[in-house]
Amino acid sequence: MKLFIIALSSLVFASGCTEQLRRAGIDERQLQAVGGVASTLARAETTPAEEAQLGQAAAATLLGTAPLVTDREMMQYINQLGGWIAKQTGRSDINWRFGVINSSNVNAFAAPDGYVFVTKGLLRELRDESELAGVVAHEIAHVVKRHYVVAMRKKDTSNALTNLAATTAQRNTRNADIVAQPLANLAQNLYSSGLDKGDEYEADRLGVVYAARAGYDPYGLVRVIAMYAGNSSNHDFELLFSTHPAPQDRLSALDKAMGERLDAFESKSISDSKSFQRMKQKAMQLADPRN
């Protein structure tokens, strides 16, 4: 029996695919009986250590397309603004990290384990700090709701996560390289195709609330989405549009969810700051990286 377990464990490792075992007539219960290794592979949850690796790989993929801005003040600004909004989620256990990506494309991204990015191109388009707060809050919602973790699991046809689970469980850092490329492919695939529409609508609803909790004008995110609607033929918005529901649909969904619920907070809200306008000016003047 012991030999069988070892043989089956190796098979699971070698194939990295529990589905093949099932097809070979070995059922879930037998699989679980195989012990620690197999149960690591079959379980439905991703551990915090695995999420940290997923986030790292996803962020590295994004920053592989364009680097962060080198302006320290801009980086400190986005981390303070993001930190203040993240505080309103009650999730101080998340390792929040924020960055401005030096790309003229207009977009914002999140990655597992607390990464949130906005592009220089987005900063150029926004009119006040409450609009930036709305976008950052939308991305924070993706992290809180683990949308990217769930989506990566769903899209994981090459078993990158299964292999990650196996190497993490073994604390085998030498195998880290084996999982790096499949994880990068997975992240690349996800950022090119986008999340489920339902995830985006949920992040819109939560983003509005987080920004309003932080003291900002609740309509900042709504104005940004209306601005997207007015830029439908702009090349710099291409990836944003192809990975999100149509701006009109997002506005209709927010209209339905918000109603007049947040209108009472409007007059006691903050819309802008001198710092934001200075950051926007810097973004306007910042050249794209050479590569």
């Binding site: 590295a60 930190g83 203040w84 209306a226 506005l251 306007m284």
Partner: protein, 167 residues
């Protein structure tokens, strides 16, 4: 000279660009429900006209939950932002003036659109190598609780208890 958002100007479209620049934010829209056109951006402001649903508007600017609009008969006033939908794109071929207007507004030159895999595009995502060194830089910029509180205090931002919105 610093890089200006109006770089396109030297491409020979000076006159058109300047004509459009003052009007760059004007976007066509439609009212989705009957609303009063108000004299100012608050609920109790004086009503200038009663607008029917489906009224065609030009959106001039936004402020909080409000949009400043111009009606087809030339009246200017405020309606709720979520009562307006921006018009659908004018055909995928694009209206030349709209396209120029967008370029003026965003500072994107034609060259950026034609050089292919630049910036954070789908093409670049497919080609790029992961850059873990950039990711590592983020740790140094993480904001400390005292910095976050100073940020909020400088803007007189105070946290509010607001429940999540229904689906």
């Amino acid at each position: 000279m610093t890089r200006s958002p109006f770089r396109i100007i030297h491409q020979g479209t000076l006159v058109v660009a300047l004509l459009l620049a003052g009007n760059a934010l004007a976007t066509p829209g439609t009212l989705i429900r009957a609303s009063d056109l108000l004299a100012d951006a608050y609920t109790d402001a004086k009503s200038l006209a009663s607008l029917p649903a489906e009224a065609k508007l030009t959106v001039l600017e936004g402020k909080g939950g409000w949009s400043k609009v111009r009606t087809e008969d030339g009246k200017t006033g405020w309606v709720r932002l979520l009562n307006v939908r921006m018009a659908a794109p004018a055909g995928s071929g694009g209206n030349a003036l709209t396209a120029i207007g967008n370029v003026v507004r965003t500072g994107t030159t034609k060259s950026a659109a034609t050089t292919g895999a630049k910036g954070l595009s789908r093409e670049k995502l497919a080609q790029a190598q992961p850059n873990p060194r950039e990711v590592a830089k983020l740790d140094a910029f993480r904001a400390k609780p005292t910095e976050i509180n100073r940020f909020a205090a400088a803007r007189k931002l105070s946290a509010r208890d607001i429940p999540e919105l229904p689906n």
